[in-house]
Symmetry: C3
C-alpha cells in the first residue's frame, strides 16, 4: 500500500467516526448544521441561568425576566468566571465575580468597577435560540440557522405535551443506532411491555427501511400481520408511537432528540403528545414530571450497578416512570460507553442500522469534501402508526 | 554502553515486572499458565451471570440451570452488549439486546431475529472452568490446562469450608510480597492478635526459607522456642495455619489465592478448613458469610479514610470479621497502590520476600527466553504447623 | 522567528507560570524559599501523625509526646509504607509494617526484626518545623531556612487566635489573584455583607497599590469617602481587617496564607485576632472550630453543586460559619480549577492583580536567571485599617 492510499483509507475511516462531536470534528460540524434542543422549557424559570454542555462545549443558558431564553458563552470575558453563577437582570446576565453585564447577544453592556468603561469593545459568543413544543433549541453552527422544523401534531389543541430531558451515560450514537433497531424491543423491553400489558405486536418482526426526504421511513411487520410505521429524522431524531405505562394513557406519539453532551454522555429529549387537555392534562403532566425528577436522581447509579453485576434489572421496579429508559440504557451502555463498531456481526435484522450509518457516512463524506449535503425536510404526512388491538 | 547492552538491561528489568498482568505482559502470561480462582461458588447461583474482571480482561461468568459454571467472552458478537446482562437458559446465555444465544463454549446457537441464521459461524471465547473447594477456577491461558491441584485436608469430611473472596485496592504483588513476610505480624496484626488472645508466639522471629517442589517452605522460629511452618505455592498461593477470632474456633488451615483484577486491584480468595461438620458447620459458615458481606461494603472506604489520615485504625472495631484483612490492607495499600520496589532497603528479615522475587524473576526470564519453566507440584505432606499453647 | 528567539519566548512564558508548584517547577522553587504553614496546631494532637500533601509532595507530620511537631518523608525506607499509619513513640515515629523507627530528623533509629541492625545507614528526609500563632510552619526548600516572620498584633495578650485551615478545590493562584481584588467584594460578598449588616463601605472603590518592603500595600477608597488599607505579603500572604459574622465580634485582623496542596487544590489558612481573652475567648474559639469542622465536611460538594447548576448560592444558609468562603470559592473555582489567564480582559480595577503578577513574574525571572530575588520584610507598622461606622 502506498502512502497516498493510506491517507485515503484513513480519511475514509473518518467518515464513519460518528461518535466524536467536539468542535472541529466532522460529526460535530454536521450536527451543528441543525437546530438542537439544549434544555426543556420547564427546567429554566424566568430570571434563572444554567450551565449547559453540548457536544463538548460549554455555554450559559438563561431566561430573561421577560421569559425569553438566551444562550451565550460560558465564561465572563473579564477574569473567566462562569456566567451561570451570576444574576439575570431583565434580559441580561451579570457576572458573579465583578458584575460585568452582558445582553443576550453576548455584548458586554456594563463594567461597574471601571470608571472608563470599555464594555462596547467586549463581546462573548451569543447563539440563536428558539423555544418550541416545550424545548429550548439552539443553533450552534456557523452562518444563518435553517428554519426550525415544525410538527403539526404537537401543536394540536387536543393534546398536552409531556416533555423530558434524560441524561444518559453513553455516547449518543449508541442511542442513534438503537433508533432503527426494531429487533431489540422483544428482548430489551420484555418486562416493560409485560407491565404495559401490550400484546398487540409479538414475535420477531420483519423490517423494511427506505431513505426519505427527512431521513428513514421504517415499516415493521409482525408475524401476526400487525404492522408499525416509524420515522427517523436526520441527523438525530426519532418519531414513533410508543407505550405509556399509565392506566389513562395507553400510547402516544413521541419525538425523540438524541444530543451529545460530550463523547461519553448524551441528552435524550422526548416530547409526547398526550391525549389530554386543560387541567386534566396539566395535572397528568405535572405528576409525570415529579416522578421523572425523582427517577433521574438515581438512574445513572442504577445502570452502573446493573452493569457491574451488583444489581439485577429484574430487581428494579418496572412501574417506575423511566423504566423503559433504564432498559434501553442498560442495553446501550452495556455496549461500552462508546460501542466498538469494529467487532460487530450485523445480520439482516440490522438493515435499519446499516442504512442509517450509510446515510450518515455519505453526508459526512460530502461535508468533508466540500460537496452539498442533503437538505432534509419533514413532511406533515410523516406520522407514525401503531395497530389497534 | 552499547545499544545491544541497553536492550539486554531493559529486558532484564522486565523480568522483575511482577505487577503488570494484562494480556501480553510477561507476568500476565506466567499467571495464565495456572488455574486461577475467579469467583466463590456461593456467590454465583444457578441461572445467574456475573461480569468478572481478571488480569485486566473482562469475562462473562454464569452458572447454568444444571449448576455447572461457564466462563465465556465479555461481549455478544452481534453488537457488543455485555453478556452478563442477559438470561441464562439451561446451560446457555442469551444476550439482553437482541437475544443471541451462546453455549458454555462460546458457540452462538441462536439468532432470533435472523430468518437465515448464521449462528454456526459466530463464536466468542470460552474457557475451561472447574469448581473445587468452594471456588470457581478458570484457565485463561493458551493450549490445554494443567491438572487442577488438590488439597486433601480441604476435602476431608471432618471439616467445613469457609470460603471468601475479598476485593483489595492494591496491586496483587503487594500482597504476594506479604506472603513470605513473618516480620510484619508483630506490628501489623498487633491488635488482631491481642483480640484473638494469641500469646503463643511472641517477639521477632528468625525465618528460614527454602525452595520446594511447590514453591517455598518457610520455617519460622520464635524467641520462646516455638515454631511455625508455612508454605507458598507458586505463583500466588499461601498455605498456612492462622487465627480465627471466634470463641468456638481458635485456628484453622487456610489456603489463600491472590489474583489480579487489574494492576490496581486484586481478589484475595481464602478457603478455611473449619473443624466443624454438619448443621453446626453450616450455621457457623453462614453466619460468617453474612458478616463478611456486610464488612465488604465499607472496607475499601475504611482503608482509604485511614490512609488519608481521616480515621485511625485504632478506631476500627477489632472484632469485625475482616479486621485482620483491614490491617493487612492498610499496610499493603500504604506502600502505594503499586509499591515502588526501587527505593527499598531490604534486610535479613526480608529473606523470604527476597527468595520469592528471585524465583519469580527466574521463571519470568525462562518464559521470556522460551526456556522451560519449573513444573510446580503440591505434595500431600506440605501441611502447615502451628505450636500448641 | 529563529530557534533561539523561540527559546527565549518559551522561557519568558514560564516566568508567568504561577500555577504549577510541584518539585522542580519555577513557582514551586520560589514558594519553597519561604516558611509555609502546613497544618493548624489544634489539628495535630500529641502522639498523632498525619499525611500531608504540599505543592504536590507528600510528607509525614507528627507531634511527639513532648508536644513538638516534626515533618519527615512520607514513606518508610524499608518497604515504602506511609509512615503516618504508624505509632508515635516519644519524639519518634514507628512504621506500621515492620516497626522501623525514625527520629524527627528522619534518621532511622531502630529495626526490630534485624538482628544486625543497619539503622544508622538509613535516613529519610526531615524538614525544619516551627509552631507559631496556631500554625505549624515548615521549610521545604534547600539550605538553611530564613527567619520566621513575626506579627506583633497576633502575639498580643489582648486577643485570642481563631485559626482555621480550609481545603479549597482550585489552584492557589486563583485565590492569590483575589487577594488584591477589591472590586469583587461588592458582588461576590453581597449576601455575606448584608448578613453582617456592614454598610460602612459601599459602591465601587478606587484602588491604589504600591510595592512595599513586604509585598504590596493597598489603599482602597469608597465613594462615601471611607477608606481601607490592606497588605499583601509575598509570596502568598494576605493581611487585612475583615468581617466576622457574629453578634459579639464585628471585625478582626486576619492573616491568610494560601498554600498549594497540588495544582488543583490548596489550603487557605487563616488566623484571626479576636478581641476576647481568657475563658470567654477559649469558648468562642471552640464554638467556631466545631462549626467550621462541620461546615468543612460538605463545602466542596456544595461548591461543585453550585457550579454544576444543581444548587443556587442563594439557597445556601448565609449564616453558616464559612459562608464568605463559599462565596469566594464559587467565584474562584468558577474561573476553572486553573484559571485561563490567556483570555482575560483586565481593566483599571485590576491594577492590584496586575501589579501582583508583575512582581511575581519579576521574581521568577530573577530566580530562573540565577539573579538575586528580593528579600521581603514585614514591618510592624504594616497593620490593616478599616473605617469606623
Amino acid at each position: 500500500m502506498s502512502a497516498s492510499e493510506k491517507t485515503v483509507m484513513e480519511t475514509s475511516l473518518d467518515y464513519r467516526d460518528f461518535v466524536h462531536t467536539g468542535p472541529g470534528t466532522l460529526a460535530g460540524r454536521y450536527l451543528r448544521m441543525f437546530w438542537q434542543p439544549v434544555c426543556c422549557s420547564h427546567e429554566l424559570q424566568p430570571g434563572c441561568a444554567l450551565p449547559v454542555r453540548i457536544m463538548g462545549e460549554e455555554f450559559t443558558l438563561y431566561r430573561g425576566q421577560s421569559g425569553a431564553p438566551h444562550l451565550v458563552g460560558y465564561r465572563c470575558a473579564h477574569r473567566g468566571t462562569q456566567l451561570s453563577l451570576g444574576w439575570v437582570e431583565e434580559d441580561c446576565i451579570r457576572c458573579f465575580y465583578h458584575g460585568w453585564k452582558y445582553d443576550g447577544s453576548g455584548q458586554c453592556v456594563e463594567q461597574p468597577a471601571e470608571a472608563n468603561s470599555f464594555a462596547e469593545k467586549v463581546r462573548i459568543p451569543g447563539y440563536p435560540v428558539r423555544e418550541y413544543i416545550g424545548l429550548i433549541f439552539a443553533y450552534l453552527g456557523p452562518g444563518e440557522p435553517p428554519a426550525l422544523t415544525r410538527y403539526a401534531k404537537f401543536e394540536s389543541r387536543d393534546i398536552s405535551l409531556d416533555v423530558a430531558g434524560l441524561r444518559r451515560i453513553c455516547n449518543y450514537f449508541n442511542n442513534i443506532d438503537n433508533s432503527l433497531d426494531s429487533a431489540h424491543v422483544r428482548f430489551v423491553h420484555r418486562r416493560h411491555r409485560d407491565t404495559a400489558q401490550d400484546q398487540i405486536v409479538l414475535g420477531d418482526p420483519t423490517i423494511s427501511v427506505e431513505e426519505s426526504e427527512w431521513g428513514i421511513k421504517r415499516y415493521v411487520k409482525y408475524p401476526n400481520g400487525k404492522s408499525v410505521t416509524a420515522f427517523f429524522g436526520m441527523p438525530n431524531i426519532n418519531y414513533l408511537n410508543g407505550q405509556v405505562v399509565d392506566p389513562e394513557i395507553k400510547r402516544a406519539d413521541v419525538l425523540i432528540f438524541k444530543v451529545p453532551v460530550d463523547d461519553e454522555n448524551h441528552l435524550h429529549f422526548e416530547v409526547r403528545a398526550i391525549a389530554l387537555t386543560g387541567e386534566r392534562g396539566r395535572n397528568w403532566i405535572q405528576a409525570r414530571r415529579e416522578k421523572r425528577a425523582k427517577a433521574g436522581e438515581d438512574r445513572a447509579d442504577l445502570v452502573r450497578a446493573i452493569l457491574a453485576g451488583k444489581l439485577k434489572l429484574s430487581d428494579v421496579d418496572p412501574t417506575r416512570v423511566d423504566y423503559v429508559m433504564v432498559e434501553d440504557e442498560v442495553a446501550q451502555t452495556g455496549q461500552g460507553v462508546i460501542a466498538d463498531r469494529g467487532n460487530e456481526h450485523l445480520g439482516h435484522s440490522d438493515r435499519g442500522v446499516f442504512l442509517l450509518r450509510k446515510i450518515w457516512e455519505r453526508e459526512l463524506r460530502n461535508l468533508a469534501e466540500g460537496k452539498a449535503v442533503k437538505q432534509w425536510t419533514y413532511r406533515p404526512e410523516m406520522v407514525p402508526t401503531y395497530p389497534e388491538a
